[in-house]
Symmetry: C2
DNA sequence: GATTTTTATACAACCGATTGCAATATGAAA
DNA sequence: TTTCATATTGCAATCGGTTGTATAAAAATC
């Protein structure tokens, strides 16, 4: 446990007979310092095993070099990809990450926001919980001028910057596809319509029906929580319907997989009896049988774009106040679960 | 962008006509400070909107209050659970987390270790990459007396503290179960045998065969990377074997699912022709058909235990040097994919 | 009433890097 | 040779808590 003393810029300064100011600047390649001196400083630093002290630096600079990430859950493929994208960019830019998840509770989300605020993150990237309606817990950031970027689950009304996909288009496409496969009684399994992503998908669904002269029935819209259990529940409700629906758009692949499984257990043939489209292009979709049609959207790009915008803003290269909404590409992948016409 | 001035202990001190030292102690409920004064200090702090400055504090205390977590990947259910467990405990104890993943590359793992070292984490929780053989990149931590706890993927020889499951027992149990179902030609699909978890599972497999007088054949052991692709490859290799194997123990549920899928596509009946057991009890196992038998082990407990031990050590409540190995419970879950006898 | 002990608070150094401004040196232009 | 611009480097304050030690006041002991 012989904790060796840490090497500081003062040690380097002493060894080279320079001032600590020069060493500090030299380590950052400050142009005011002679090129040769800079080299000597950096060499000596390496030699002595110097490591930069973020705390001293942050304290002085009044910046934390840390970005907070606030997500609803960590357990989906999609979120993991987004995080990977964020991490890639922030790491390159030398920022640290603090990741917090709210377990789909807006109360916990608010607590996490406050917590990250106290940790003094330089910026925040967030995706809202199902039921977050009021963004007041982000007001703290606003007040202090700390930039916040939302992705995927956002508040549409707000003027904050957001990175999203065109959920309306996705909903429309999925529904249109089912209609083209001959479906007339299409169930929509989705979550809280107050959340933008579900509201938009719902709107796309409804409009596609309308454009094809198919009546919209409220009973075909099942609002769930998109959990494992919900897949079973949705299936049971579908089975009780008479006549049986012939199509289902389930806005989450995992739930869709469970639902499909349950329907099959009850003798329903997929896609002959009911054609199914999921959402997210989770790896699971290719493993189950039949393989699941779904909407693909690139989490990693979403993460990268959100992070890049935030960092450019922090570096003063751009201003997110000028960019309101960034829309990422997305598209329908047709697999067996919905393909009735070759 | 009216960045209001931050409130410091000096502001509180001034308002209450106390010294900053007293305020600092008061905020931490230091017993030397009069109870009444403490209350006044804390009230004023709240009133003024004071937030503690970690950087100043860390700088002075020479502690970061941060724990590093180094994992091979973020994409599995298991790892996510472990992280949830770690997060729960560390958050309770007021520690921050920095999470780094090595993408199964020991080179990147080493780079991450160095990085976390420079970030001055107070402690480290790590699970090794497939091919990490030499732990020298953890030497930095050792030298500085920074505690490191390994979990799941560990180096058995090392004297560092580890939290693991009994992989030998699991391998034995799974194999024994397949034998009891009448399997005689059992394939093992696993990863790099240099990594403890796979070595032990392999040993359990081999011993179970031996104890049941079933010859061990090297050709039945397929070393893969447990990716999606590997499931397909394994299936193709199995299909080429003559006679066809009648059982498979695949040490990862996702790979097992893909493998099973591929086998089914080629007309193999599960479990009638080949009985299959996976590993990890991933959610996927209950969705696929037939449902997958697997080994369940509680990631969340592993995370909690690792974190708790580390924190107790940091707080001086215990010393991890005294605890070498902690073994978590695990057990076989039998589902349809391996059940041939009623 | 004098002395010791306890309680409560203040003083001041410290953690390590950053940065505006001053100072010095060097070289070029006048 | 003097003057001015430019290139380098140093000075010293600053960021905001923490903590060992000193001090003062109050309480307890003899």
């Amino acid at each position: 446990m012989k904790t060796k003393k840490e090497v500081t810029i003062y040690d380097i300064a002493q060894k080279l007979e320079l001032s600590s100011a020069t060493v500090s600047r030299g380590l950052q390649d400050h142009p005011a310092i002679n090129k040769n001196t800079r080299k000597r400083i950096q060499e000596t630093a390496r030699e002595l095993g110097y490591r930069h002290n973020n705390f001293a630096s942050n304290l002085r600079k009044q910046k934390t070099n840390t970005i907070g990430v606030l997500v609803h859950e960590l357990n989906s493929n999609f979120i993991t990809s987004v995080l990977a994208g964020i991490e890639k960019i922030t790491t390159e830019a030398g920022y640290d990450l603090i990741i917090a998840h709210s377990s789909e509770s807006s109360v916990k989300e608010a607590a996490n926001a406050v917590n990250l605020f106290h940790k003094r993150v330089d910026g925040l990237i967030a995706s809202l919980a199902f039921d977050t309606a009021d963004l007041s817990h982000f007001g703290l950031f606003e007040e202090k001028g700390i930039p916040v970027i939302f992705f995927d689950r956002v508040e549409e009304k707000g003027e904050s910057t957001k990175v999203i996909i065109d959920n309306y288009k996705c909903g429309y496409q999925a529904t249109q596809h089912l209609i083209e496969q001959g479906c007339k009684r299409i169930v929509l399994v989705t979550a809280n319509l107050k959340r933008n992503v579900y509201a938009q998908r719902h709107k796309g669904y409804a409009d596609a029906l309308y454009d094809n002269n198919i009546p919209f029935h409220k009973k075909y819209v099942l609002i769930k929580d998109l959990s494992e259990q919900c897949g079973v529940e949705a299936a049971m409700e579908i089975l009780k319907m008479n006549p049986l629906p012939d199509g289902a758009f389930i806005t989450n692949d995992f739930s869709a997989a469970v639902c499909m499984q349950t329907l099959k257990d009850h003798g329903v043939r997929i896609p002959e009896d009911i054609a199914i489209v999921g959402f997210n292009n989770d790896a699971i979709g290719k493993i189950i049988e039949p393989q699941l049609s779904t909407i693909d959207y690139p989490g990693i790009d979403m993460g990268e774009i959100a992070a890049r915008n935030l960092i450019n803003h922090l570096k003063g290269l751009s201003n997110i106040k000028h960019t309101n909404t960034i829309v990422i590409r997305s598209n329908l992948i047709v697999r067996e679960s919905s393909q009735r016409k070759k």
